[in-house]
Symmetry: C2
Subunit: 101 residues, 2 copies
């Protein structure tokens, strides 16, 4: 099982639209095969900073997310709203030890 943290900085004027588009992406992503978590977090000290916490049962499923229609729609929708490039960081999951989360 692997996790990707995606650090996201949004231009202030697009924050509301970003949240709306990301909610749609969240709702579709949690339905994907192999998806375990798709948490959307917001920095309490910086309302323009978000983190996506995405957990999948395998690297293949994590990579597959980037080929889904909802991801591609989200990516194109938010492209001009980024204050700076997104940063993704991968981790392995030690615990929970299985998919019964």
């Amino acid at each position: 099982m692997i996790v990707t943290f995606v650090n996201i900085w949004v231009k202030e004027e697009y924050i509301d639209a970003f949240i709306k588009a990301s909610r749609e992406n969240h709702l579709e992503s949690i339905k994907e095969s192999g998806n375990l978590r798709f948490d959307i977090l917001r920095d309490p000290g910086d309302p323009s900073k978000f983190v996506f916490y995405e957990a999948y049962t395998s690297e293949e499923y994590a990579d597959g997310h980037k080929k889904t229609p909802h991801y591609l729609k989200w990516r194109d929708t938010v492209a001009d709203w980024m204050a700076r490039p997104r940063e993704g960081v991968r981790y392995n999951i030690l615990y929970p030890e299985n998919e019964l989360l």
Copy 2:
């Protein structure tokens, strides 16, 4: 709902013992009232670097974790195994919108 990321760097000679102690902490923490997630992650590029991803339904429950016997036992057990001080970072959870994770 809130999340705490805890960044942890472990002295190399204590990594196996740290994983064992943290597994015990994980297994008890996920039973706590208000706990939603207690994921233990490992950096694939640095086997001595771990992240705990801890989600609770409220700040009170998140703070309550630090008063539990299993947390206190873990804290004391790993105290001398840290390569440097732990760093905790808090985030709010936007989505999922409720506790049905």
